[in-house]
């Protein structure tokens, strides 16, 4: 409100609209003076939706702290391994089963094969984060397209598409994810090995690709439901009707009104999908279905640490804390984004 306080426009002589005897004096009809013109110049840049959201987000201390934490974790996972003198898959002979120590430099200790656990935690964090982020991107694309098509076309198409989504919704997803993982992995391995076209994917590994695919196949419906709901409300709102009445075609309405107004909830949902994908991934790795050795993910590291946790509790606690930190940070970031992007959704 403060920007209106000094607004020169409000200082103008007040004209009572109900006064029937209103007669303009000649002075009122004169062209505006230079001084008056200058007063009408905008005092400050008008704020956009994104600037406004950014401002709200910056004021949210918890969310800002979590955003910084996520950046730190990203650096830890992607830059960290380059700074370490060890490799995640090569053990150092003579330095097996070490506790956390600074000389030789093993802050998190080493495992039974003499592999430095700090590098392994870095790589595992990288794997877990990539799964979370890539899976949510898949979900974003599939879910948004599905929901948008369903909501925009409406009618029986919407009905059929939502019935299909409903079936997915009531499938016990973890069971199917486990099955999909086991069933797809050998075929993916064969496919990757058979064709030179998939060469770049081979380094990612069939286990990871399998994980991306299964998440994408099973978790898109949440996003689809949200986007569809948004599109349905927006489609029937007054300003879209007005835009249509003024001759706006479907393309114009989608590009100008529907997409920009959905972005907020899409961003929020995607942020919440990341921790849930990381959660599921670590769960699968924990029961031995995720990435295969010598690769490590945070879940598989916790699983490895189970044998011998009495002697080496830190091997369990470090990756476990990392999982909890990542999930916590993304959950809080999602909350912050929700408050910033969509103040109506705040509780």
């Amino acid at each position: 409100m403060s920007q209106f306080k000094n607004d020169p426009g409000l200082k103008k002589p007040h004209i009572d609209p109900l006064n029937m005897n209103f007669a303009p004096t000649p002075e009122m009809l004169l062209p505006a003076t230079q001084e008056e013109r200058e007063q009408l110049i905008r005092m400050r840049e008008s704020t956009t939706y994104w600037k406004d959201a950014m401002r709200r987000f910056r004021r949210n201390k918890v969310a800002m702290a979590c955003a910084i934490l996520i950046v730190v974790i990203l650096l830890f996972a992607w830059v960290g391994p380059f700074l370490m003198p060890y490799s995640y898959d090569v053990g150092i002979r003579g330095q097996e089963r070490m506790g956390p120590s600074l000389d030789p430099f093993h802050p998190f200790g080493t495992d039974n094969l003499g592999r430095d656990l700090m590098v392994r935690v870095m790589i595992a964090t990288r794997i877990s984060l990539s799964i979370g982020i890539v899976a949510s991107l898949f979900i974003l694309i599939i879910g948004t397209l599905y929901g948008a098509i369903s909501g925009f076309i409406g009618g029986w198409v919407d009905n059929v598409m939502m019935r299909i989504a409903e079936v997915f919704y009531s499938i016990p997803s973890t069971l199917i994810i486990i099955l999909l993982n086991i069933a797809l992995k050998p075929h993916l391995t064969r496919l990757l090995d058979s064709n030179a076209f998939f060469q770049p994917l081979r380094s990612v590994g069939p286990g990871l690709i399998c994980m991306f695919l299964t998440f994408a196949l099973l978790y898109w419906f949440r996003m689809a439901r949200i986007v569809r709901g948004d599109i349905l409300t927006l489609k029937n709102s007054e300003y879209v009707t007005a835009s249509r009445a003024l001759g706006g075609g479907s393309r114009w309405i989608i590009g100008k009104h529907l997409i920009p107004n959905c972005v907020g909830s899409i961003v929020i949902t995607t942020t919440f999908e990341i921790p849930s994908a990381i959660f599921t991934e670590s769960f699968l790795s924990f029961i031995g279905l995720g990435v295969s050795a010598p690769m490590a993910s945070l879940g598989s590291m916790v699983n490895d640490a189970l044998n011998g946790f009495q002697s080496y509790p830190y091997r369990l606690v470090i990756p476990a804390t990392m999982i909890a930190l990542i999930i916590l940070a993304f959950n809080q970031l999602g909350d912050g984004l929700r408050d910033a992007l969509d103040p109506r959704m705040r509780d």
């Binding site: 009531s170 997803s173 069971l175 086991i182 916790v302 369990l316 476990a320 959950n331």
Partner: protein, 304 residues
């Protein structure tokens, strides 16, 4: 109402059909057969495959399986010869169910009062503390919680037994590990729903009438704010059932979860399919019950 139930039942059957079909074909995509063990000769494998109709075309096997499924017959296990899947589920599921029910009760009994209390003490230190704890609690995966508890209370301190499920003491750790996430979620859900209700006009009216705070809470606020919790009971059951897989593994509890993971690596097709279909049916039934209860609790909700 009747129309709604019929529609929901039809959609439940459709979902079950999809799950069964999906599971069947996924299981058969896995290379190698259930009888390809190192000791078995080619002849033995062929004989066993013939006995279990695995030599027939895939689609015929599918039809046979679905035909049996309709009569609630889940077939025989491949690994434990002559042991029907129904019998295995009948033996193992009660163990998992016991644990699951305790975990669900625990999360509801602690979650709801905690959320209500936080809402009544909004922005007071106790509310802040509760919200902080629940935020943390939601971030710790159940298997992490289970292992940490096992290390701390089971091994280091030696207060609680770490194996099996034979006395009430054995239930403490697995049940707490399983219920931590949903408990925290319920507390947060309850708080925001309660805050929403407390801001309503009828609460102001009740207070203006001079109704004691206790009556406002139990007669007006609680009843209305509990509705979102009921709709969460479906996903809650699913989470507890699947969470049971790892918790059973960690605490060596002889329930369905441990069995399911083992049966997948053994390629025991009928058992995997049986467990999946059984769990799917359980979840779908739970969702249906939740929807029906929802309408009873909140008459404003109309069945389409």
């Amino acid at each position: 109402m009747a129309k709604f139930i019929v529609r929901r039942l039809l959609s439940a059957i459709l979902t079950l059909f999809v799950v069964a079909t999906l599971t069947f074909f996924l299981m058969n995509m896995i290379p190698g057969g259930p009888f390809n063990t190192e000791r078995a000769t080619q002849k033995q494998i062929a004989a066993l495959e013939k006995k279990y109709d695995l030599d027939k075309p895939l689609f015929e096997q599918y039809l046979t399986y679905m035909g049996k499924l309709v009569r609630f017959d889940l077939g025989d296990s491949f690994k434990r010869l002559g042991y029907p899947v129904n019998k295995i589920i009948g033996e193992k599921f009660p163990v998992s169910a016991q644990l699951g029910v305790v975990a669900i009760l625990l999360s509801v009994i602690i979650g709801i009062p905690a959320g209500t209390y936080a809402a009544f003490k909004r922005n007071k230190p106790i509310d802040r503390v509760l919200m902080f704890v629940t935020t943390l609690g939601m971030a710790v995966p159940n298997f992490v919680m289970a292992t940490l508890m096992l290390v701390l209370f089971g091994v280091t301190l030696g207060w609680l037994p770490t194996l099996g499920l034979s006395s009430w003491k054995h239930f403490i750790m697995p049940a707490v590990a399983l219920s931590l996430n949903p408990m925290c979620y319920i507390a947060r859900l309850m708080r925001s729903s309660m805050l929403d209700v407390l801001g309503q006009d009828y609460i102001k009216t009740a207070r203006a009438k001079g109704l004691p705070e206790r009556k406002v809470l139990f007669k007006h606020a609680l009843k209305n704010s509990i509705v979102p919790i009921i709709s969460y009971l479906g996903p809650l059951t699913a989470g507890i059932l699947t969470g049971g897989f790892v918790v059973e593994k960690i605490f060596t509890i002889p329930g369905m979860g441990k069995f399911f993971v083992e049966s997948i690596s053994n390629q025991d097709y009928p058992l995997v399919m049986g467990v999946t279909v059984f769990y799917a049916a359980l979840l779908i039934l739970m969702n249906l019950i939740v929807d029906l209860v929802y309408g009873v609790v909140d008459p404003r909700i109309k069945y389409e």
